[in-house]
Structure formats: C-alpha cells, structure tokens
C-alpha cells in the first residue's frame, strides 16, 4: 500500500483497507467541535432537521471562546443557546466561562484529541490537532449539525504535500516563524484541498508547542489538514493527558505525495507576515520603519505557556514603548494559572501590558483590542486580512510571541536580538 498518514487515518475510519486521493468516503468521527459563533447555526440546523439525539455525549464538544465573556446581548444570547443545548443532551465536554479556553489550545491540553483520531470542528483552525497525529479539519455549521447527530461525515480523500524538515532552529525562532516562512514559500492557496504532511530529521527540533502552531496554520496555506508523525516529543506530551488507547500512523514508505517542499530550519529567521495576506512573509529585520500602536500575544495559534514564556523572557525588566498598547491573552485557564505561578503575569504588568481572561477576542476583531482606522498591530494571531482586527484601514502584522514582545518594546517591528 502507498498511503499518507492522513489517508491511513481516513481509511481506518471509513472501514476500508485502502483509500486513494480523490476518493469520496464516509468516515466515523471521534470528536465534533463547535464554538459560540458556529454552534448556534449548527444547533438550528440540527433542530430544523428534526434530530432529537446526538451520537455521543462525550464526543460532541462545545467551547464558548470567540465572543466570551460575552461582549454584547447578541453574543450572550448565542452562548445561552449553546448552554441550553449542552444541558438538554448532557454534554460532558461543554466549556463555558470559568472552564473554557480557546478551543484549539484547550482540546489538546485536556487530552481530548489523540493520535490516529478523526475530528471535525466548525472552525477553520481545527486542523491544529494534526500536531498530535490526528486527522482534523474545519467544516461549516451544517456539516457540524449533521455530524453531531450521526457521528460520521463525508470526505474527499486529499492528495498531499510532503514537507521535509531539516536543519536546526536559530535563536528566537519558533513554530510561528517556520509556518509563516512556509506559507510565504507556497502561498495562501499552495496546499488548497491538500494535506501538509511534516516529515524529516528536523522534526526533533520542533517542540509540541511549535507543532501545534504549525498545524494550526495549515489552513492559511489552504490545506485541508496539517499532520505530524508520533515521536518521543509527542509521547511525552500525551503522557498524563490521554489515557485511552491510541494508534500512531506513519506514512507508507512509498506513500504518494504530489510534491515535496524542502524546509531547512537553518535558513529560517524570525519572520513577519505583512498585511493583508499570511503569505506576505518577510524577515522581521525589514520592519524597522513600521511604527505600531498595539501588540497582541495570544490566540489558538500562540496562546500556550511556551508562547507566554518567550514573551516574558523579552519583556522582563523592560517596558512597552510610549504609545504602544500590550494585550496578553493566555489561551486557557491552566495557561493563565501557570503564567501567574511562573511570574509571567507580573512581568507583563510591569512592562505595561494587560493580561486578559482567555478569549479569541481581538484575533477576529470581536472585542478586547479592536483597531481604529490607520492603527497597526503586531499580533501572534493567524490572519491579517482586510478588517480582520477592526477598521478596514487598520493593519495586522503576524509574528511570533518573541517578535511581538520585542516590537512592543521598540515601538516598531523588531527582531528580538535587537532589544536584548
């Protein structure tokens, strides 16, 4: 057989020995996910279709994270609708204010996703769980509504691009720089409809936080999913989190890849994506003339404890430049707690930043840091489209937590080495 990691997982969930790119299959799902924006639409569809059962009350997960704690009456009403649904079907994994975190940081942290599993979520960044060798992909609300009822969905088996990772990470370089560099190389539709499968001896250089960030942004290259094989780093991460049995999937030695992209870590420095597409990637050192008004450190892409650590190491004993607002958003309650325990929160406050409760908030221009006309933000989030964080004439520059922190101190886009 000659299947990719993704194809093997899909074959297993479709009950088939083998699948090939382009084949249409029906696959069982291990988990379905919705949030406070997409789940209400899914619930409406579910109810309009006349369903009165869900397929498994442990596997239908709802996370209230986008406009929470609720920013207005409409968003409060949407959360209330989710809460009512969660009660009606006795959902075991309903995460409301107090237990919630940003969904794609929360689910891996809570051990809800494991190698070899098949997951859909009504959120485009559901592809994050490929970091732990799961097949996971974003869908819309109607797909979610149907899947919550029946526990399966249809897929077109994707072709794949192999990303062969080699070399060593330079100082200050993280998963964010790697994925921005890759998107810069292949473009925002470079992996359209396809899997991005990461392989190679360079993977040992990538921490689980790096991998989660990289898989998270596979969608920004148009990818259906991004996926890593299981190694010691994965096993160490899963220890104590995932207690159920799981199966790891490696690609077959003769797996068919449409193309191979060579990604040499030695060549990657701190990278920033200029407005208004994630593919506009340039070295951070080219941003000296870009004066900024705000930094945001958080999101499903970069709100984990490793991200806050990277920011804290740069902000420690330093202060934001005059006129720069610093917004730090730990992605989950446990990241928040850890950041307090490790002294990061104090470092951030001393540096002139604010520290928010977990929320997607400003990433999609919801609340907690929306930009005015003409304002610029260096953000560790995942999209810099027109109007993404606020006014259509505002600008978002995508970067790692280290670059965002350094830029906050300097008041312009800055490589961390220049402030240390």
């Amino acid at each position: 057989m000659s299947m990719t990691m993704t194809q093997k997982i899909l074959a297993k969930h479709a009950g088939l020995d083998e699948v090939h790119a382009g084949q249409l299959i029906q696959a069982k799902l291990d988990l379905t996910l919705g949030n406070d924006i997409t789940a209400p639409v899914a619930i409406n569809e579910f109810e309009a279709a006349g369903f009165d059962k869900i397929f498994d009350n442990r596997k239908v997960v709802l996370v209230m994270d986008h406009f929470t704690p609720n920013k207005d009456i409409k968003s409060a009403t949407q959360c209330k609708q989710c809460r009512t649904f969660a009660k009606r079907f006795n959902l075991k994994n309903f995460f409301d204010v107090g237990t919630m975190g940003i969904e794609h940081a929360l689910l891996p942290e809570q051990g809800l996703v494991a190698p070899g599993e098949a997951i859909i979520g009504a959120d485009s960044h559901t592809c994050t769980y490929g970091a732990v060798n799961a097949f996971s992909t974003g869908v819309g609300s109607t797909d979610l509504g149907a899947a919550m009822a029946v526990g399966y969905t249809w897929f077109k088996v994707p072709a794949a691009i192999k990303v062969n990772v080699t070399g060593k990470k330079k100082d200050f370089v993280s998963g964010k720089d790697v994925i921005l560099y890759l998107i810069g190389k292949i473009g925002v539709d470079g992996a359209l409809y396809k899997s991005l499968e990461f392989c190679g001896e360079g993977l040992k250089e990538l921490t689980m936080a790096d991998r989660l960030t990289i898989a998270n942004m596979a969608i920004e290259a148009g990818g259906k999913n991004g996926i890593f094989p299981v190694d010691d780093i994965t096993r160490e991460y899963l220890k104590g989190r995932v207690t159920r049995e799981w199966t790891a999937y490696d690609p077959d030695p003769d797996a068919e890849y449409e193309s191979t992209v060579e990604l040499n870590l030695d060549e990657i420095d701190c990278t920033v994506s200029w407005p208004h597409l994630p593919e506009n990637a340039k070295p951070a050192t080219e941003g000296k003339n870009i004066k900024i008004d705000q930094i945001v450190i958080g999101s499903c892409t970069n709100g984990r404890i490793e991200d806050l650590k990277a920011a804290a190491e740069i902000l420690k004993g330093r202060h934001l430049a005059d006129g720069v607002r610093g917004i730090i958003i730990p992605a989950t309650q446990s990241v928040y707690r850890e950041a307090i325990k490790l002294g990061y929160v104090e470092i951030f406050l001393d540096a002139g930043c604010i520290v928010s409760t977990p929320t997607c908030g400003p990433c999609l221009g919801g609340h907690m840091g929306v930009l005015a006309k003409g304002e610029r933000c260096v953000s560790t989030t995942n999209r810099n489209f027109v109007g993404r964080m606020g006014h259509t004439e505002s600008e978002v520059y995508l970067a790692s937590p280290a670059v965002a922190a350094a830029s906050g101190i300097a008041g312009c886009i800055t490589h961390p080495k220049e402030v240390l």
Binding site: S75, T77, S141, R383, V386
Partner: protein
C-alpha cells in the same frame, strides 16, 4: 444576470466581517455582505446577479455565515478560478450554486451579462458573445442539492 467581479483570495472576513457574527439572521447578514471590500455591494445587487472571482474564493474562517450572506443578497451563483475547501463545502450544504471555471473567471468583466446552465455547466457571456465550459456537479452533489441540501438529504435516509 449581471456579473460583479472581484480578485484573488476573497476571504470570509470580508465576505461577512466577524463584527456581525453575533447575528444568525440572513437578512441582516446580507446587509453587510462584502462591505469591507465593496461598500455598495448590498445596494447594487439585483436578484439573480452573479459573483465572478479569482483564486481561492472564500479562504479563511469556516463561518457558514459567508455563503449564507451571499445567497441572501440575491446572488445566484459564484464563478471562481478556485474555491477554498471549507467555503466550497458550506456553499453546497446551504444550497448556494458555485462553479469552478478559470476561463470564465478570467474572461468575464464586471458588468457583463451572463447565463448559466447548471445541468451542462455551460456559461454564456451574452455581452462578449462567448461561452465557457465548467465541470457540472457530480451525481452525489446534485442529489444532495435536489434533496434540498445536506440536512434534508440525511433526513431522507
């Protein structure tokens, strides 16, 4: 049907900005459809008009509100060089017709009068007096649309 033309990588954040996502009301969503790249969109669209766009239409967020807003605006079809996959799936699921046809997407100009035969995939540009051939939907998708979308199709089972 008049064509309204846009470029590459039209993302779901500009199709329907997140600041309006606290609503699920399709009429309200339609009021703000495309406003971040085309302020006059809502005012100028007549029922049955089409959108013609470049590569990767509908990229970004998985929000189903995007095809819903386009459909509720009165748009009868989106023709693009290519679609982002989540948007593609969502459009079919909610019953918004979409056609991938690089040739038509390249050649049709803003304001051209266009006719589409969904059974054959034939696109006729009446202004330029030209035709283009798109791949019609495969059988199972046709069936899903005939059944009234994904939900109705599942209910039938």
């Amino acid at each position: 049907m008049k064509a309204h033309k846009y470029g590459d990588h039209v993302d779901t954040d500009v199709i329907i900005p997140a600041r309006y996502l606290a609503s699920q009301d399709e009429k309200e969503l339609a009021l703000h459809c495309m406003e971040d790249i085309d302020k006059n969109f809502h005012a100028k669209i007549k029922d049955g008009d089409i959108i013609v766009a470049g590569l990767n239409f509908g990229c970004g967020s998985s929000r189903e509100h995007a095809p819903v807003a386009i459909k509720a605006s009165g748009i009868s079809c989106v023709i693009a060089k290519s679609f982002a996959r989540i948007f593609y799936r969502n459009a079919i699921n909610i019953g918004l017709a979409i056609l991938e046809c690089p040739e038509a997407a390249e050649d049709i100009s803003d304001g051209d009068e266009v006719k589409i035969n969904f059974d054959t995939g034939l696109i006729t540009n009446e202004t330029k007096n030209k035709t283009y051939k798109a791949e019609p939907f495969p059988e199972f998708i046709k069936k899903m649309i005939d059944d009234g979308g994904l939900m109705a199709s599942l209910k039938k089972k």
